[in-house]
């Protein structure tokens, strides 16, 4: 396969390499976005559970493997702050994903042109 690639013009080889790099970056961005979305879902669930509790409910916060008693108001504020941060991160990752998809589409179109045999009618 790599032997076949080395027979291609250098410009096409370069584009193929760039395509691979873009695909890898996109995969990494998607994985990060999924992780952020998972954490956001978890925070939203925890916040909705906290909302149902009385203000004096006994709540614990995990610090490493320890559980430390905490106030509902403080925990809610912390979670909302984290949620806001993650929402911003998700937006940034979403934009990055869109940009990468656009670049990939352009590059794929160029490569398709590079690699498709020239039809006699187009000459």
């Amino acid at each position: 396969m790599s032997e076949e690639i080395s027979k291609l013009p250098p410009q096409v080889q370069e584009r193929l390499l760039r395509l691979q790099q873009l695909q890898q970056t996109l995969q990494s961005v998607l994985a990060q976005k999924q992780q952020v979305e998972l954490e956001l879902t978890e925070i939203e669930q925890a916040l909705s559970e906290l909302e149902k509790l009385a203000d004096n409910a006994v709540i614990y916060r995990a610090i490493g493997s320890l559980l430390v008693k905490a106030e509902k108001a403080n925990v809610t504020a912390d979670l909302n702050e984290r949620k806001e941060l993650l929402n911003m991160r998700a937006t940034v990752l979403g934009k990055q994903e869109g940009r990468l998809r656009g670049q990939l589409k352009d590059l794929q179109a160029k490569l398709q042109q590079d690699l498709s045999p020239v039809s006699p009618s187009s000459r």
């Binding site: 978890e42 559970e49 906290l50 509790l53 916060r61």
Partner: protein, 148 residues
Amino acid sequence: MAGKVEEEFRKLSVELRILEDTAEALQSRINMVNAVVTDLTYANMTLEGLGKHKMDSELLVPIGGSSYIKATLQDPDKVIVGMGAGVSVEKTLQEAKEIVKKRLDNLDKTRMSLQQRFTQVAQRISEDRAKLEELVAELRKGKPSKNV
């Protein structure tokens, strides 16, 4: 004709690879769900057992590595339940049992739906493999053997 068969062979190979990846991902999710179900079943058993014990009962709390420390049951009706995102809430024993049961029910539904999807994908894989074999036979018939 051979070109058409080759094209179909290529398409089917790609589809098969995607299906195999999907089956692998589904299997890994089923395994994850199973692990959580085991964990919750264990919690459920502990909660059921805890209800039979009175205040000040002597307990052995696992600390890993098949080792335990001695503890005394301070309040058998208070259980701390994790809500996710590092937050745990004190619940009564009955509430904790209900939460665990609800989680187990939800996971059972998820497991069944994943299992169903896995069965469908596995069925499709086996159909595609059969088709692929037919195409290979057709291609071999069409081309003289090269002793590869």
